[in-house]
């Protein structure tokens, strides 16, 4: 394996597998495009992930703020479906009436409208509620410049031939450095439940490395009933995502935007990226994350200067008269 530092090794567009030293015959970079506009919040991805990867069930409570009962991405939650309730319409007023794409589709289900909504409906003000649900299945981003991998002191975290980032359970010693390094708060050291495997070891999505090796689709994407989670070659997924945003904009859903698709962004683009309908932080994403190692050369420079200052200061302190 060749060990070279290319110009963009710390930051910038890059093929991460090539940068890690894989040969020309490596597979294309794999990733997820999660189109949250068609997520129905069924949590099939969460279940499939736990089943396939033997991720222990741990701590399911309602958060008391929404239908979310799995809280966050963490050591025991490699897919997390966020539920956001907003007093806002999906389709911007006056747009998208003819496109066939509507904010809501009446399934004829019996409903109990919120107080005041009945009058509103009776008055014929609008047949759509002033309210929308956003649902999004979050996952490890498999960054082009992955801070967790950069800071791992044992080499347990590594870049696979698919360009993904995976923990080797048998090497990680649970130093925990990857946990604060991740700009998305994905990876975590497993601390519970007692008796579960890999307690004390960093855990996160592997993009189903074992399934990829066998030419299979990752469990979550396989289980997703609406194709909100799409798996494939990152290059192709990016094109598909661009088309989807255009389509949604034409339909009047002007909030649609991509998150993590730009190879020039702060983490060099992510292998798993998203189509969102609101600002990233609404979904619990950082608005404009930057890989911490982008600043590492500057950090080392400051540390060297500080070390020099200490040595010089001590030398000066010893100058002068002897006892």
């Amino acid at each position: 394996m060749s060990w070279t530092i290319s110009e963009n090794s710390f930051w910038g567009p890059l093929d991460p597998a090539a940068d890690a030293g894989y040969d020309e015959d490596r597979p294309k970079r794999k990733g997820f495009f999660t189109d949250t506009s068609i997520c129905i919040g069924c949590k099939a991805c969460e279940v499939a992930c736990k089943e396939w990867n033997d991720v222990p069930a741990d701590h399911f409570d309602m958060t008391a703020t929404s239908y979310d009962n799995s809280h966050s991405l963490n050591a025991n939650q490699w897919r997390h479906v966020a539920f956001i309730e907003q007093p806002k319409r999906l389709v911007t007023e006056g747009e998208g009436q003819d496109s066939g794409l509507r904010g809501t589709v009446d399934l004829g289900m019996p409903t109990v409208p919120p107080t005041g909504a009945a009058e509103q409906l009776a008055n014929g003000a609008d047949d759509r509620p002033d309210f929308r649900w956003l649902m999004s299945s979050d996952v490890c981003k498999h960054c082009t410049h992955a801070a967790c991998l950069d800071v791992c002191p044992t080499g347990s975290l590594f870049r696979t031939e698919f360009g993904t980032v995976v923990v080797q359970d048998d090497i990680c010693n649970g130093c925990g450095y990857c946990v604060p390094a991740c700009p998305y708060g994905v990876i975590e050291r497993r601390k519970a439940p007692d008796g579960a495997k890999n307690v004390g070891i960093a855990q996160k999505c592997t993009l189903c490395y074992d399934r990829l090796d066998a030419g299979q689709t990752p469990a979550c994407a396989q289980a997703c009933p609406t194709q909100s989670i799409q798996y494939g070659d990152v290059e192709e997924l990016r094109e598909r995502a661009n088309k989807r945003v255009e389509q949604l904009h034409e339909a009047g859903i002007m909030d649609a935007r991509l998150y993590g698709n730009d190879p020039n962004d702060g983490v060099g683009g992510t292998g798993a990226f998203f189509l969102l309908l609101d600002e990233p932080e609404v979904y619990g994403f950082p608005p404009d994350p930057v890989v911490t190692t982008k600043d590492l050369p500057a950090m080392y420079k400051h540390a060297v200067a500080a070390a020099g200052a200490l040595l010089a200061g001590a030398a000066v302190a010893f100058l002068g008269r002897r006892p």
Partner: protein, 414 residues
């Protein structure tokens, strides 16, 4: 495991729809009050979590800073104490997913800040020991070497203890990885430990009467004096790296209050190391020999205070956690003890007072430990509050636009 949930999930949802109007006063109250306007609190896996609206929340920036410390309740979100000089700075608005953290705090416990202190103490003591050796101060040399070895031993135990799987500590030695400050630190500590260990062994060799040593070990014992000064000097050359790399260790993370401090933190830490180790030398070495330690103590303390002040000026909103709650108390204690210790040191030097030396030295050491624990706790607190992740990134977006590689050819999508 939730409290204050009076309605079922459906009811809660509808209620939310009715009350969530961005920018209403209720919203502001709900966001700023640590307990939430309706008293709704959830207990998550990481302890109690403030239930806040995911829509726009307004927080007082400077107000929170000032209002901190008084009450344990408002320690994480001092913004709840409104009033004061809030109007001095524009209010920061931010959105989050129900107030939940975005980045994760490190899983590190007291071991790590204790190591930050002990590592600095060991490094400074080795430097002082080498200086004492070269300038003919035998008592300070001896105490410096023993302190450095003791502090290093403590550091090793603390570092291994903090691992999730301590039995695999040796995997740290699998790779040497420049992108990982922890890997670099492992190798710096290894090199430093070898030199400091040899110097301490030489010190022990001087003290142990030859007749106590088995005949088999006489040969190695005779070799020790050759290692004595070179090992001590080499340890002192590597030691500054031990003292300063720990700042990079903290800064090379997404933890807001650690990363944003990366320019000044190494200087704060070496100042703190100088103050602590000089303080220890003032405690352990006779007043007549400790002159250089007193000078380094005062210089280190002043350097630490100045750089810490500068650090806070450049950190923006992420300086807030340094003033709130546990971290705030630690940082205030650190400042008071460091100032008192430095003043006492000056007095001790002038009066040649051993008692005052010991007292000032101890104050400097505790002050240094408070700095390390304070910086550590501030980082942990900053990771637990999405404000410190979202607001600085939003401010940067407003100022400079999104972070994009200069080689960018593709236009930003949407």
């Amino acid at each position: 495991m939730t409290t204050g949930r009076s309605t079922g999930p459906e009811g809660a949802g509808i209620e939310g729809a009715g009350t969530e109007g961005a920018g209403t006063q209720d919203q502001v109250n709900a966001a700023s009050d640590p307990l939430g306007a309706d008293g709704a609190n959830a207990v998550g896996r990481d302890g109690p979590i403030d239930v806040r609206s995911q829509t726009t929340a307004t927080v007082g920036t400077r107000g929170g800073r000032r209002g901190s410390g008084e009450g344990g309740r408002g320690r994480r979100r001092g913004g709840g104490r409104r009033g004061g000089d809030r109007s001095m700075v524009p209010e920061a608005e931010f959105t989050s997913y129900y107030g939940r953290p975005i980045v994760k705090p490190s899983p590190w416990e007291a071991d790590i800040p204790a190591y930050l202190f002990a590592g600095g103490l060991a490094a400074g003591s080795s430097i002082l020991a080498a200086g004492a050796d070269l300038t003919g101060r035998p008592a300070m040399r001896r105490s410096g070497r023993f302190v450095s070895m003791g502090a290093l031993g403590f550091s090793m135990v603390a570092l291994v203890h903090d691992l999730g799987t301590p039995s695999r500590f040796y995997n740290m030695l699998r790779v040497a990885k420049p992108t990982s400050p922890m890997s670099m630190g492992t190798w710096i500590l290894s090199a430093y430990g070898a030199f400091a260990g040899a110097a301490t062994a030489a010190e022990v060799g001087r003290m142990v009467p030859r007749r106590w040593v088995p005949r088999l070990l006489h040969r190695p014992l005779d070799l020790l004096p050759y290692a004595d000064r070179p090992a001590g000097v080499l340890a002192a050359v590597v030691a500054p790296a031990v003292a300063s790399y720990t700042a990079v260790l903290l800064s090379d993370t997404a933890t807001p209050s650690w990363h944003s401090a990366y320019r000044e933190l190494p200087f704060v830490f070496v100042g703190s190391a100088a103050a602590a180790s000089s303080g220890m030398a003032m405690v352990t070495a006779p007043v007549a020999e400790a002159g250089p330690a007193r000078r380094l103590a005062v210089a280190g303390a002043a350097f630490e205070l100045v750089m810490e002040h500068r650090m806070e000026q450049t950190m923006g909103i992420t300086a807030e956690p340094l003033h709130e709650g546990k971290a705030g108390r630690l940082m205030r204690a650190s400042k008071a003890l460091t100032v008192a210790g430095a003043a006492g040191t000056l007095l001790a030097g002038a009066r040649r007072s051993r008692a005052l030396s010991v007292l000032s030295g101890a104050a400097l050491m505790v002050g240094s430990a408070c700095t390390r624990f304070g910086v550590f706790e501030a980082g942990q607190a900053s990771a637990m509050d999405p404000k410190y992740t979202v607001v600085p990134q939003r401010e940067r977006l407003e100022r400079e636009g999104p972070v994009r590689h200069p080689g960018s050819t593709t236009p930003p999508v949407s």
